[in-house]
Symmetry: C2
Subunit: 304 residues, 2 copies
């Protein structure tokens, strides 16, 4: 069976300020990080996204060389790509948005080429829940597994759409603050119960430097984050995590508890690379062997 | 060799407010929690503490029944016990102190009875660093292992004393905020390096609901906290953790990396009980079998 992975998400420019420095416009966006990350494990990816004429063709070429098909990437030559500017606080777990320019993302109508129709695994990167559900509804065959990411912005502006999209997802990845916001529960155990009743049977709560929790059937699994000397830039860490998570599952063609556990470890290990440099720089240079070495560090860190 | 464990720390009354309820004066204090916790694993404890005439003799009897010797417990009949009143925020990881009455703790001059002189393991519970160092200096034989706890208050009011006491300790247990304050470093990896240069070769950073990190020689170990439906009262969780940690080590008579890892898991498991009810109520009812069952939950939670 073809285990092609379909990825939809933003491709964008980011400008980032952290206590360690700042960047001008660099490549960002959920789909950029997801594709770089999942292609380490599973270089068989169908990308659905939209960019403006200002988006670097070099980066698209890089993705193609990593096994990412781009027939579903719309390039709107006379328009501009999505732009986000943000500033991280000292704790690196919270940030302020300084600017958001939707540009081509404002009226994104996703195209699913025929060649993508047999995608068995789907990663709905952070994006309007309406676009996320449209992608699922335009697939003629029901996929094996749909993983979706989202963020607080959509809870505040498109909750009805989000509720609908949640019913289409098998797995939701979300951070701890967002899990609390979505459920109205402070306890993550209670939050998980409420969120799983909204649709996704499996829930991953990302806690940044505090690791990630998996809720699946009656089981809970916790994966720590690797303690790092410095976190230079957390941008894209959640997307990189999601890319590693779905990349592992698609590569294995599995969706049992053990596979989910391993997927979380792979996602966490890839995310631990992502934050070591600004933007996509670090994740773009990681090999499968680098990843396996880091996974051994995770094993040493948490086994007793 | 006698592996008696010497414990020094406060014994006190606490009044606690949380989002889930509040208590009048109940039994509290670092040494109370440490003794209850370590006696689950190692009922061979020499207590050094001071209370007023208002402190319940029932509780002292309870400790004795759990293998705690109290020749080193001073009861000052015409004075009052230490009192602390605090309020937890919704996140249960931060709190405000509403009242502190030092009372007998203000001029505590610790007595080490001759019968305590062969204590091989020492737990310096949170207390003035001057009292902590006095205890060590009044032991005629150098102990096998000295574990100390402290808090931000002493960094702000008695930093010189604290620096001296740190040079006498083999292991420091401290929370993440305090580690950052003590070291001036945000990264916990960097903070650990600086703190270990101050004296304690081994460092445990407690992160509350986010688990605990162990730094020992060139190794790092992480133990998660158990995800709980509800945390009713975090008071004493850090002391309960410390009690389980040193109790395991004293019971085993070991101080290698593997023993420290297991000690952290035992401490974390005991702390996970402590927060389930107000004050010392829950930890006082835990058996060795309850503890082993919970440790199996920790294994399931973090193995992959």
């Amino acid at each position: 069976m073809n285990m092609s992975l379909l990825v939809v998400g933003s491709m964008a420019f980011d400008a980032i300020e952290t206590p360690f420095g700042s960047t001008d416009k660099i490549i960002g966006g959920a789909a950029s990080y997801i594709c770089l990350s999942s292609s380490v494990l599973h270089p068989d990816i169908n990308l659905v996204a939209v960019v403006g004429g200002d988006f670097p063709t070099d980066f698209v070429d890089t993705l193609r060389q990593r096994g990412v098909r781009t027939e579903g990437l719309q390039v709107l030559q006379d328009r501009k790509s999505f732009f986000w500017k943000g500033r991280y606080h000292m704790d690196m777990n919270t940030r302020d948005t300084l600017a958001t320019e939707l540009n081509v993302l404002g009226d994104f109508d996703p195209i699913i080429p025929d060649s993508y129709q047999d995608s068995r695994y789907v990663m709905l990167g952070n994006l309007s829940p309406k676009v996320q559900s449209t992608v699922i509804e335009r697939l003629k065959n029901k996929p094996e597994l749909v993983v979706m990411d989202t963020m607080n912005f959509w809870m505040e502006t498109a909750m009805d759409d989000l509720r609908h999209t949640l019913t289409l997802a098998d797995v939701l990845t979300i951070n701890d603050e967002e899990a609390r916001q979505l459920s109205g529960e402070y306890s993550l155990v209670k939050a998980a119960r409420k969120i799983r009743a909204m649709g996704p049977k499996t829930l991953v709560i990302k806690k940044g430097e505090h690791g990630a929790l998996l809720f699946h059937e009656d089981e809970i699994f916790f994966c720590p984050a690797l303690p790092l000397e410095d976190v230079f830039d957390p941008t894209g860490a959640g997307d990189t995590f999601a890319g590693g998570f779905i990349g592992y599952l698609a590569a294995q063609g599995r969706k049992d508890f053990d596979a989910f556990r391993q997927a979380i470890v792979h996602g966490s290990a890839l995310a631990s690379f992502c934050v070591e440099k600004f933007g996509t720089e670090r994740i773009a240079e990681i090999s499968a062997e680098d990843l396996q070495q880091r996974i051994r560090l995770f094993q040493q860190l948490s086994s007793f």
